[in-house]
């Protein structure tokens, strides 16, 4: 309430202040995407504890608009001097299209040299639908939809979505009722479609005959009269509802432009065209689900477009607010009993707050953006150019007292249930290796003589993976996750994975359109930097600190972002030994750590790496100009990897190559090759192609 009054008073003071509906454009070109809160080592702008200082002086645009921030009070917009606003307890939230998370922000060396980050431009281009993953211009009208992979759309892109959906008339032809009638739509492979239709027709005929014999009006009456038919009636009804819903799904996906130009789709069939469209829809709406019409996907398809747009808006706002305030607590530590507690300085028990949610809601409400209609009105009254560098001032709830520039953080990884046994027998038949406890990532804070768990997320541990041996053949190898105490000394933004020679060559190639020619190229997606990279968008490198002048020991284990979200959330998901996090959480995590621990910015780690390999009669060459953009924690961050519970017969891992069932080899397996980079990689698992 105090905050609202302060804004009101300051607005009153500025008798000449115009409540312009658009951002002041004069002198606005030099606004840095990294606002005051994004400066290295700067404390979060939402101050922990204590009362907020007095209201700032209202800036007058004539003084220079390049340092202004927008405030919205009771739907009225005005402008404040951003510096004065920060000093007065406002948090400046970057709404600009050139925003990046802290780790990709422009940084400056102590001597004032700009430390350019190669990937920043690509990140911004991807978020604005202007560049593709390689950094080449995106054809006009193309969309990236990369939020699921850690790159949220810019507010400019969201504005386009809101305005386009408002004008789109095709949504009126879609039956929301039919979509809501089913929870999921059963997947039937295209080649089994005909047989399935015949089976359903037969079932329908049988039930119709039974209905006539039983002299009842409907199949529902039949099921009631003779319960032995109830299951069959249910199946028939469900499939009929699914068929009707499938038609609406197709209409909805077409209306939203999810079928890419050039893709083919046969109506009513869940073919590749349909699967790709569903995947795009999931990417657009950040749905962590396999590419089928399962519950979360169906829920989103049944929601009005404006509601989905607003959910996307709130997710994007969350990333901006979390970044501006420098917080991490996201409610992931809550249990059925509620939020855990800690003892504050006064000796009282205080609940651990979900700051990501709390601060985002607070910002949305202050700005009048907490509803779809409010957000739509906001986008309608601002021209697209406003979002180029727009910054917004909000008064966020006070941060907990344990916040500060140097927090005693540490990481614990619990490997959960671990199997060392081979997952198949001598004849190649797979045997299940069920896990009750999955690997989890914990971020702790030591404060006031207690250990406070700030965040807990699912992660991965290693397992059996395919690896290419020196004889050119693939074998299986157990690639486990090391146990014990480590540290993270280096955090690399936009990391590059140097594929070791053990990487199966098939995962190092992809086909790509190059200057109107469809050709095979090195799969740089997996090498990085990029959201699809084996190391994701950011990685923390686990090492055992060297003693007595010896260098650190690096066994290649990292905790890194990953686009392979199914490997993190699936019961069958494993890594090559690294601990994967969804990219957006990895970005939050490392941005948070870097802003609350002493660190040094090392900048771009240039290198001139090249390696050739043969495929058929063509030579392919990997060329990597940089390892990524590095930050060094001083002191390093402690990490403890817990062993977990070892299941099965073997109590220690097999350390040699194991031949794949059914493959003819030229001789016995060669010795295994070890390299630090061999713990990452995404493309190849122990599963056969086609297995989910």
């Amino acid at each position: 309430m105090g905050a609202i009054c302060a804004i009101g008073i300051s607005s009153c003071h500025a008798g000449t202040q115009t409540h312009s509906s658009t951002a002041p454009t004069q002198n606005l070109t030099s606004v840095s995407p990294a606002g005051p809160s994004n400066q290295p080592g700067a404390p979060p702008t939402a101050q922990p504890g204590g009362a907020l200082p007095a209201a700032p002086t209202v800036a007058v645009p004539a003084q220079g608009a390049d340092n202004l921030a927008l405030v919205i009070h009771d739907g009225k917009e005005s402008w404040l001097d951003a510096g004065a606003a920060t000093r007065s307890g406002y948090t400046i939230v970057d709404f600009g299209n050139d925003w990046t998370p802290f780790i990709f922000a422009e940084q400056v060396a102590p001597d004032g040299t700009a430390l350019h980050n190669r990937y920043r431009r690509v990140f911004v281009g991807l978020a604005n639908d202007t560049l593709d993953e390689d950094g080449t211009p995106l054809p006009a009208g193309e969309k990236n939809y990369l939020e699921l992979y850690g790159i949220p759309p810019s507010f400019g892109v969201l504005q386009g979505r809101f305005l386009a959906n408002e004008q789109q008339s095709c949504h009126a032809n879609i039956s929301q009722e039919k979509l809501e009638e089913v929870e999921t739509i059963t997947y039937i492979a295209p080649e089994k479609m005909h047989a399935d239709e015949q089976k359903m027709a037969r079932l329908g005929r049988d039930l119709e005959e039974a209905r006539r014999k039983n002299k009842v009006a409907t199949l529902a009456d039949l099921a009631q009269k003779d319960p032995s038919f109830a299951a069959k009636v249910k199946i028939l009804e469900r499939r009929a509802a699914e068929k009707a819903a499938m038609t609406e799904v197709e209409k909805r996906l077409a209306c939203e432009g999810m079928f890419k130009r050039g893709t083919h789709h046969n109506l009513g069939i869940y073919d590749d065209g349909m699967r790709m469209a569903v995947r795009r829809f999931q990417q657009k709406n950040m749905i962590y689900e396999a590419n089928y019409l399962r519950s979360k996907t169906m829920d989103a398809l049944a929601r009005p477009p404006l509601a989905n747009d607003h959910l996307a808006f709130m997710r994007v706002l969350r990333e901006r607010v979390v970044s501006a305030a420098g917080v991490i607590e996201d409610g992931s530590v809550d249990t059925k009993a509620g939020a855990p507690t800690y003892n504050n300085r006064a000796g009282q028990s205080a609940p651990l707050r979900n700051l990501a949610e709390e601060l985002t809601q607070s910002a949305a409400e202050q700005l009048g953006l907490a509803t779809p209609e409010g957000a739509l009105a906001f986008f309608k009254r601002h021209p697209a150019a406003d979002f180029q560098h727009l910054r917004v001032a909000v008064k966020l709830p006070t941060l907990p007292e344990y916040y500060g520039p140097n927090m005693d953080l540490s990481i614990v990884i619990d490997r959960g249930d671990v199997w060392y046994d081979l997952p198949w027998d001598a004849s190649g038949v797979r045997h299940p290796q069920p896990r009750k406890h999955y690997p989890s990532f914990h971020l702790y804070l030591k404060y006031n003589n207690q250990r406070i768990l700030l965040a807990r997320w699912r992660t991965t541990v290693g397992g059996w993976r395919a690896e290419q041996a020196s004889d050119g053949y693939e074998y299986f190898r157990y690639k486990g996750s090391d146990v014990g105490q480590r540290v993270i000394r280096n955090i690399v933004a936009g990391p590059v994975w140097i594929a070791p020679e053990s990487t199966p060559i098939r995962s190092l190639l992809k086909t790509k359109g190059v200057n109107n020619s469809w050709q095979r190229v090195v799969n740089y997606d997996e090498l990085g930097p990029g959201f699809l990279s084996a190391y994701g968008l950011v990685a923390g490198y686990f090492v055992v600190p060297g003693k007595n002048g010896k260098p650190d020991w690096d066994n290649g284990i990292r905790a890194h972002g990953s686009s392979d979200y199914l490997s993190i959330y699936s019961s069958e998901g494993f890594s090559h030994g690294c601990h994967r996090l969804p990219n957006h959480l990895a970005l939050r995590l490392y941005s948070f750590i870097l802003r609350h621990r002493p660190m040094r910015i090392l900048g771009d780690q240039g290198m001139g790496f090249a390696r050739q390999f043969l495929v058929g009669d063509d030579v392919f060459e990997i060329r990597l100009p940089s390892r990524g953009y590095s930050y060094q924690l001083e002191p390093p961050l402690p990490v403890d990897v817990l062993e977990g519970e070892i299941k099965g017969t073997l109590k220690s891992p097999v350390m040699t190559y194991v031949p794949k069932p059914g493959i003819k080899y030229p001789g016995p397996p060669p010795p295994v090759r070890n390299s630090a980079e061999g713990r990452a990689g995404e493309g190849v698992s122990t599963k056969s192609e086609g297995e989910e």
Partner: protein, 167 residues
Amino acid sequence: MRLCNLSTSLPGWLSRRWAIALTLASLALIASAAVLGAGKAKNEVTPAGKADGKADVKTDTVHISFQTVPPRKAMVKWGKKSLGVIPVPRPLVVERPRDSGPMDVVIRASGYLPVHTRAYTFSDSRVAVKLTAPAEKKTLFGYRQEAPQNPDGGVQVPEPVAAPQPQ
């Protein structure tokens, strides 16, 4: 200084012999550039940007020099577009807008296997590509020896071996 830049930017697979050859080629290039003067910018090798991506002076364009080892006349194609033929002993120099994204090119020289490689547009750079004759392809990683007709297949379950410990 240019020579230092050149030799330190060579990829690891280049032998010392080829490094010397490239150095000599660069010397010839520098000499010819001096003779030709500044008017023929497209045929010059401009100093490579710093390895850390920071160029001293940032222009709107970058120059990418294509060379082969051993030096051979080779066609450089970028998709359907031909970028030109490497005019040995000089490199083929291509001008591109800075930060316009990478170029996936194919370099074809008569008597050698085609090489697919990538050039970047962050800064001026050299792409020195090693050529391999078909008879030498067994020296390349990924070359796969044929399996005998009747080998042992199936699955072996080896004994566990202790994991390596940190030093």
